[in-house]
């Protein structure tokens, strides 16, 4: 059982900013493993344990520093990491990023590809569907429970309306919800051992990517960065006894009743 987990190195939450010059996310500061991806790594490790053998391979597209996040995943217990890092890939949008990841995944031919629920920096929650389409593999997203047996996966998918139970034959692509598990912390032994695990950094040509990458290969763009629209003044009520009546008056004034 070979499980590939796609992970992302994201800026620390407090350092999130857009670079006004490039209009891209500023990735020059400290970064960390996207928290939602830890759930996907955890699930991969559990699947491998349940199967009794196999391999968990981490795959990422990002700057060279992203190796730090991959090492965290290795410290959790993943076996191997592949980082696709190429200056030409900076600024890749969904179509460009999915093309790179699909190429890296094709080389690995995993039985199962896992994604975390979303990217903490871009709030993107769509990449898996694009990758699944490029790989021409069945897809299940928003999986809150996952079982693998007899060459297929069975997932409980959370939706707006409740949940669905979906089955798909392997090889498949699954995006897990952060409700699926509680990710383990890397042990000291895991951290010490992580550096010695196989880590491969590839550029676009090593991967055999011939199409355009980065902004060249992207189909979306950012025109301007603006302040959010002002919300107006906050009206305050501090008298508990009179509050219900005053709220009703406020709602009536806003024509909400």
């Amino acid at each position: 059982m070979k499980v590939a987990v796609c992970v992302k190195h994201v800026p620390e939450a407090q350092a999130l900013r857009l670079d006004p010059a490039t209009k891209r996310l500023d990735r020059s500061g400290e970064g960390t493993l996207n928290g939602f991806d830890a759930n996907a790594i955890e699930e991969a490790l559990r699947i491998k344990d349940a199967a009794g053998d196999g391999e968990v391979v981490l795959v990422s597209l990002g700057p060279e520093k992203a190796i730090d996040s991959l090492r965290k995943g290795l410290a959790m217990g993943a076996d191997r990491a592949i980082l696709v890092s190429d200056a030409a890939a900076a600024g890749s949008d969904l179509v460009a990023t999915s093309a790179v990841l699909a190429k890296a995944l094709e080389r690995e031919t995993p039985d199962l590809v896992l994604f975390g629920q979303q990217a903490g920096d871009s709030d993107g929650a769509v990449l898996w569907a694009a990758v699944a389409d490029r790989l021409r593999r069945p897809l299940v997203s928003q999986a809150a429970e996952l079982t693998v047996s007899d060459g297929s996966v069975r997932a409980k998918r959370q939706t707006e309306f409740g949940y669905d139970v979906i089955e798909a034959p392997l090889p498949a692509v699954v995006a897990v919800s952060d409700a699926i598990n509680e990710p383990r912390y890397p042990s000291l032994k895991g951290i010490m051992g992580a550096k010695k695990k196989p880590q491969e950094t590839l550029d676009a040509s090593a991967l055999g990517l011939d199409g355009a990458l980065g902004e060249q290969g992207s189909k979306t763009e950012v025109y301007t960065i603006n302040d959010p629209p002002p919300r107006g003044d906050t009206r305050k009520i501090e008298d508990t006894a009179g509050a219900p009546q005053q709220i009703v008056e406020f709602l009536a004034e806003k024509r909400l009743l």
């Binding site: 999130l16 939602f36 949008d93 969904l94 179509v95 999915s98 093309a99 629920q117 929650a125 769509v126 898996w128 569907a129 694009a130 990758v131 699944a132 389409d133 490029r134 021409r136 593999r137 069945p138 897809l139 997203s141 998918r157 959370q158 939706t159 707006e160 309306f161 409740g162 949940y163 139970v165 979906i166 089955e167 798909a168 409700a179 189909k219 979306t220 763009e221 950012v222 025109y223 960065i225 603006n226 959010p228 629209p229 919300r231 107006g232 906050t234 009206r235 305050k236 009520i237 501090e238 508990t240 509050a243 219900p244 009546q245 709220i247 009703v248 406020f250 709602l251 909400l256 009743l257």
Partner: protein, 319 residues
């Protein structure tokens, strides 16, 4: 501009967010088409004209019965290729996001998500998108066509135009891998009243409620106001309320006309899911709760006293 709107439906009715997107599309150009995908959906599709579509395309096939994304990608990709739509719009949902992203890969097309508006500026389409936990608003666009976009729930109102749409059946050809995933079971939560995606008014509860049974305070107020009940991640994680009601970074982003936050501190993870609501009323006993920084009406006080009386007053007022 030739626009196609994906009209998602659930249990025999269109999803409100999708109808809102259709109204927006109709307001931007002369000819908004929509597509309804499913099994036994022809009667439903025939009502699509009422909401602004000039043409409703119907992909009706037994294989499309379950709300799974990949067969829908096949249907939409064929429509865009055969009919040359330059813009395809979706109301954001678990299903629609997967369809839109699969279609983006299939057609090598740009997808912008989480948009709160779409405008025509100097002859080009510009999407408005809150980003970085809504701390900035960016203007985004597309390099080439088709342009794909997902819109945040509740940002547009459906508009009943009473139009008679032309209904056309379309051929369904599915890829082998698209039918690999199958629906084994659909266990949908029974809920009264509108879902949070469909509601104009949302009453949301947080940890400040103190106990799961106190959610009934929110439910009663929501019922009196004709709204839906939402919850924060903290209380969903604690098992007080189902995930389908979760608003915030890992739940739904909503933009109702009125959002009443009950016992919610307004942590950033929650704020990103609701701060684009038109009017925000927050009730919290902590005068320093962050939610008061962006609420329109900040009520500092004991929710256990305020909410039941408020519910009573609203009931009286609405008769």
């Amino acid at each position: 501009m030739s626009t196609l709107v994906f009209l998602e439906h659930h249990e025999g009715a269109f999803v409100k967010n999708a109808l809102g997107v259709l109204a927006k599309a109709a307001s931007l150009g002369d000819d908004a088409h929509s597509v309804v995908v499913g099994s036994g959906v022809r009667d439903l599709a025939a009502t699509g004209g009422k909401f602004g579509a000039s043409t409703v395309l119907v992909a009706d096939d037994q294989q499309l019965a379950a709300p799974l994304p990949q067969p829908r990608v096949d249907v939409l990709a064929k429509l865009v290729r055969d009919r040359g739509y330059d813009t395809v719009l979706f109301g954001q949902s678990v299903l629609a996001a997967d369809v839109a992203a699969g279609l983006a890969a299939r057609l090598d097309a740009g997808l912008n998500w989480d948009l709160v508006d779409l405008v025509n500026e100097d002859g080009r389409l510009v999407g408005k998108r809150p980003a970085l936990q809504d701390s900035v608003h960016v203007d985004v666009g597309w390099k080439g066509e088709p342009r794909l976009a997902l819109f945040r729930s509740g940002v547009f109102d459906p508009a009943e135009t009473g139009r008679e749409a032309q209904i056309e059946d379309v051929e369904v050809e599915l890829e082998d891998f698209s039918t690999g995933a199958t629906m084994v079971e659909q266990a949908h939560a029974e809920s009264e009243g509108p879902s949070i995606e469909d509601a104009d008014i949302i009453v949301a509860g947080g940890r400040g409620l103190g106990a799961p049974e106190n959610f009934k305070l929110c439910e009663e107020l929501a019922q009196a106001l004709g709204g839906a009940v939402a919850a924060t991640r903290a209380v969903v994680d604690a098992g007080w309320y189902p995930y389908s009601a979760q608003v915030g970074q890992t739940g739904k982003a909503v933009s109702p006309k009125l959002y009443v936050a009950v016992g919610i501190s307004g942590a950033i993870q929650h704020k990103v899911g609701m701060q684009s609501s038109q009017t925000i009323v927050a009730i919290n006993k902590d005068p320093n709760a962050p939610i008061f920084e962006f609420a329109d009406l900040a009520v500092v006080g004991d929710l256990h006293e305020i909410v039941p009386e408020l519910t009573q007053l609203v009931k009286e007022r609405r008769g």
